[in-house]
């Protein structure tokens, strides 16, 4: 695993998130569920809680966008770059963006597994960089796996616990 340059992290024990926009490939409730599940994967390992807000500015602003979407990292259409997220901090910090030009799925089959991509991007939102372990969720390329079996690896857990420590109940 690796940490982002200068090891930024959230210093509050509660981090807020807001879903700003959706993909038409999945029902909105499914996107909500997957986002919550992806965040839960991380919060199960560290003493950090996530709270959803529906208005105003959240720490982690989440959305689907296409092409140039105002952050100097334009998306490139289908394939290649699928998503990106910013390290913890004010403003864009922590925000996670997904390319609306991809075909997003909640399971097997053609398309990009949104649970995998979201969990990966929220790793960046929390301060993790890319891992060179091909099995890690934080590996930079995305594979298509079975969401039933999808989980953080030891490498991901060691990385996030280096930043935030372990939960008391672990």
């Amino acid at each position: 695993y690796s940490l982002m340059p200068d090891s930024p992290k959230w210093h509050s024990r509660e981090v807020t998130y807001r879903i700003m926009s959706y993909t038409s490939d999945l029902p909105q409730f499914k996107v909500d569920q997957i986002v919550a599940k992806a965040l839960r994967m991380w919060s199960k390992q560290i003493p950090l809680k996530f709270r959803r807000v529906r208005s105003g500015t959240a720490d982690i602003m989440i959305g689907f966008a296409k092409g140039d979407h105002g952050d100097s990292l334009p998306f490139d259409g289908p394939g290649n770059t699928l998503a990106h997220a910013f390290a913890p901090g004010p403003g864009l910090g922590g925000d996670a963006h997904f390319d609306k030009d991809e075909y997003w799925t909640d399971g097997d089959g053609p398309g990009v597994n949104f649970l995998h991509a979201a969990t990966h991007e929220f790793g960046h939102s929390l301060g993790l960089g890319h891992s060179s372990d091909p099995n890690a969720v934080m590996y930079p390329t995305y594979g298509n796996g079975n969401p039933e079996d999808f989980r953080l690896t030891e490498d991901d857990i060691e990385g996030i616990q280096e930043l935030y420590g372990k939960r008391d109940d672990l």
Partner: protein, 77 residues
């Protein structure tokens, strides 16, 4: 510092894509020319992905560069 396309056995388009990939995902703050050379960046990429560190573009690396991925740099100093 140019990579050697002739030695890489890749198409002109793949060649351009490889250079864009290295500029996008292997970023240095240093103004030193060496740190910003594409050969240095290619070696970093090969090291990151556990490939033989040759500094030469190959079809295997081009294939890796074409995989769907996250837009966050692998190396940003």
């Amino acid at each position: 510092l140019p990579l050697s396309r002739e030695a890489a056995d890749v198409s002109a388009l793949q060649w351009e894509q490889a250079q864009d990939y290295l500029r996008k995902f292997y970023i240095h703050d240093s103004k030193a020319k060496e740190a910003n050379s594409l050969v240095v960046k290619l070696k970093e990429m090969q090291k990151f992905f556990g490939l033989p560190v040759t500094g030469k573009l190959s079809p295997q690396i081009v294939e890796l560069m074409q995989k769907p991925r996250c837009g966050v740099p692998d190396v940003a100093k």
